[in-house]
């Protein structure tokens, strides 16, 4: 059934160069700094390569495009073994703010913008930014709660229609 399989008895044809990726749709479901950045870097990087990109913010990922919360996204210092600090220590007041401060400083040094600037920049690259309707309703939010880069609040069905013909990445 696989059409790429050579017919029995014939020599396999030289492998064709893989089709380049022309479109990505990236789902952002987490609200921590380390949960949001990879998606933004991938979306921005896609546009930089001339690849069409859509971002779909759902659940706590909505914080990345929430007018007020966008300024206060923090690194998770509890339940995050990658931090390499004991869980009880990570839970002390101010730990998350401290870790966020150091990580943000380091990111600025290597030319990665803070989240608000990054969202604005990604909007300017022509990527589509969308909020998930179910999550927006669940959190009791409305259009006015989001940054102007959010083009629309859409359903899962809308998302799949928009993602047609491209790759979907869940983060």
């Amino acid at each position: 059934m696989a059409s790429t399989e050579p017919a029995a008895g014939t020599a396999p044809a030289a492998p064709a160069a893989p089709e380049p990726i022309s479109k990505v749709s990236i789902i952002v479901s987490k609200g921590s700094l380390e949960g949001i950045y990879p998606a933004l870097i991938m979306a921005n990087g896609a546009r930089a390569e001339g690849i069409e990109a859509n971002l779909f913010f759902t659940f706590f990922g909505l914080d990345a495009v929430h007018r007020k919360r966008i300024e206060h996204v923090k690194v998770a210092t509890v339940g995050n073994p990658g931090m390499h600090i004991p869980t009880l220590l990570g839970g002390l007041p101010g730990m998350s703010a401290l870790a966020t401060h150091f990580m943000s400083k380091r990111m600025e040094e290597i030319d990665i913008p803070p989240i608000p600037e990054f969202i604005e920049m990604i909007g300017d690259t022509g990527a589509g930014l969308y909020a998930c309707m179910a999550s927006v309703e669940m959190f009791g939010l409305s259009r006015d709660d989001f940054v102007p880069q959010i083009a629309d609040i859409i359903t899962v069905g809308d998302f799949y229609a928009m993602a047609a013909g491209g790759q979907i990445i869940f983060t």
Binding site: R47, A48, E49, D111, P113, D124
Partner: protein, 105 residues
């Protein structure tokens, strides 16, 4: 390493078509690369970006990222993407005859 011929001049390029030796570049060559990349005519705004890229490369040894272009070239990120739809840093570096900028941003 391979070569490409633009405006009657043979230049050294890498496997992606980026210049190995930016000193082989001329403005006539840029016009021809732009046409091959789908930009019919290079406007003053295109040139502003191209000239900025060459200056940055000469100073720093690497082409600027889109973020730097947006902040320092005098052309906004939005306009950069309108001028160079296939990715401003990459496309402008190609036309400007400098190596492809490295980096994730």
């Amino acid at each position: 390493m391979s070569t490409a011929t633009y405006a009657g001049v043979t230049v050294d390029v890498n496997e992606e078509g980026f210049f190995e030796h930016p000193e082989q570049w001329t403005r006539e060559i840029a016009e021809e690369i732009a046409r091959a990349d789908g930009i019919e005519t290079l406007t003053d705004r295109h040139w502003q970006v191209i000239d900025f890229m060459r200056r940055e490369y000469a100073e720093k040894g690497t082409g600027p990222t889109v973020r730097v272009l947006g902040k320092a070239s005098g052309v906004s990120v939005k306009e950069l993407y309108a001028l160079f739809p296939k990715g401003p840093a990459k496309m402008a570096a190609h036309i400007a005859g400098i190596p492809k900028p490295k980096g994730c941003i």
